[in-house]
């Protein structure tokens, strides 16, 4: 089963996905975290959702959710062509108020929740009995955390002195 099938079958069925897709546009996403350049895989809407997730998964004083979302966008561009559309679908589902209502008892889109409630949504995906929902959480968590900690800006904060200087010769 691919991730698309997971979204349609593994959760509460294709109906939710269809319905939530309609409601998506009725709820404007939070307008923080706008992209600051070209996007290769994400659209502006899913970009904001991803950056909002990064703002919760990555707790580091030097973290920049917009930079993280751009880095994930670049990473996915180097992956299988299917990865981009699957990530967008996953982010739309994560954001969706209707899916949220059915799955977690929330109506507000993810980007409009308070930080505490956002953390609860992440934890609900993590602790879900559905393997495939846990997989969605894992994907978002790993993509954002890896994109952040790949950056040398994080080194000092985690006590990593960086690579040795090479002496020519």
């Amino acid at each position: 089963m691919d991730r698309r099938a997971f979204l349609q079958r593994g959760l509460v069925g294709g109906a939710i996905l269809a319905a939530s897709a309609c409601t998506l546009h009725a709820w404007p996403v939070q307008d923080r975290y706008q992209p600051q350049g070209n996007l290769q895989c994400l659209d502006p809407r899913t970009f904001v959702v991803l950056a909002s997730i990064a703002a919760r998964t990555v707790q580091d004083p030097v973290a920049d959710p917009v930079a993280i979302a751009h880095a994930v966008d670049r990473t996915i561009a180097l992956s299988a062509p299917e990865a981009a559309s699957e990530l967008r679908q996953l982010l739309n589902l994560f954001e969706s108020g209707l899916a949220g209502l059915l799955l977690d008892g929330r109506l507000r889109p993810f980007t409009r929740l308070t930080p505490d409630r956002q953390d609860q949504v992440l934890a609900a995906w993590r602790d879900s009995r559905l393997v495939l929902r846990r997989a969605g959480y894992t994907a978002l968590r790993k993509l954002t955390l890896a994109a952040h900690y790949a950056s040398p800006t994080t080194w000092e904060g985690v006590g990593y002195p960086g690579p040795p200087e090479l002496v020519e010769g």
Partner: protein, 507 residues
Amino acid sequence: MPFVSAAEWTPPKSVQVVVIGSGAGGAVAAARLAAAGFEVVVLEEGGHYQKRNFRMREDEAFPQLYQESGTRATKDLGIAILQGRAVGGSTVINWTTSFRTPDLVLDHWQKVHGVQEFGAAELRPHFEAVEARLNIQPIPLEESNRNNRLLWDGCEKLGYSIEVTKRNVKNCFRSGYCGMGCPVDAKQSMLVTYLPEAVEHGATVVYRCRVDRLRTDGDRVVAIECSELSEAGPTGRQLSFAAERVVLAGGAINTPAVLLRSGLGDAFTGRRTFLHPVIATSARFREPVQAFYGAPQSVASHHFAHRGERAGFFLEAAPAHPMMLALAATGFGEAHRSTMVELPQLTAHLAIAIDGFSPEETGGTVELRPSGAPVLDYVLPPRIWEALQEGLRTLVRVDLAAGAEWVQTGHDPALRISSEGALASLEDHPLGPGKVAVFSAHVMGGAMVGEVGRSVVRSGDLRHHRISNLHVCDGSIFPTSLGVNPQETIYGIAHLVSERWTQHWKS
């Protein structure tokens, strides 16, 4: 023009031998065939990066050198898969641990899977030759970094056997960056050994050239169809040319994918893919560990490799740089951060399950996505979960015995265990897909060798059962995993089989 990008290359009408993939299997085969006088072209989808490009940074190394930028995973995302994608393949980014194939494994292949002509005696001279060529030698225990040393100490305290490993390095200054490409060419990877040797003997290595499919007619490959790639992906230019013989060496997952895209799928192609699934611990020590520096792997314990009726596992260490730890550490937000800030004090120890030796362990299956990109569907069977659970328990005990303040597991949320007494809490947190971080750096199988009607390639010369001018020469031919790190097995088999080809093909 020995190393040339697809963009600069005009294929001849026909090539004598095409080798697809420049990793452990492909490079050895290419060098041996070129030295024997064959006209050889190696096609590699990755880029040609060299020591000056290896700047020891995760943000550069992973997009440049890893399949899918390091994000490859099984279909249900349950297992993260590390595999290389560059001139030199995974050998450019591997951790240099070198083991000959255990005799027991070769015997099992013969008895259970009908593999002929790959016995220990036949392989021995080839292991010797490869060990000499790649300077494969034991690393003295005094040269272990603290991460490896603590694994050693913990095993010794508990009475578990443990040994130093061999490494394929020369003048290694033990930087710790093997996984990002060796910045001083100390690692004797294919990039600096067998590939230059192939080129000296007239071979051409064409990089950023992805083989999409083999066109066949009857029992022969008649054309190789490729895409020219740039750093960003396919440029749109297609290349097509003929070859008298094809050696497929794209590595597990990718080799079966080429076969499937070529319409050569059957009940065996892509099946029995094994991963040596890995579970990790991060243990905190009061004195700095600095698992990011030093030879990444220098000790290994096979104390639990044979557990009677149950699946075995072995223990090794791993390098830990910030991104690697970020992926291994579970949780999110403050919980995740609380692990990250401990980086200098943490070990990274692995329990590696040995999959494929019981009838229940059928491995994963490579499938194609609509674009033709492969994905591995592998849901671990209960026996392997049991081995991982026992491996995890063992690692926690070893880390505590070595003096850890606490040991963190890959559950999500993570468990922190600070005493033997608390070990029982592991039983309350059964492992399962998506419940614990599992990864693999050893992808094997998917185009297994064996008898007709049970496998993809035949014994002796690794020829495809149905296609007479197609051979497979990489880790995908294994009928099972190995129980040891795989690179030397692939070198040895490639070295042996290319000698056979030289004899057969000349006559």
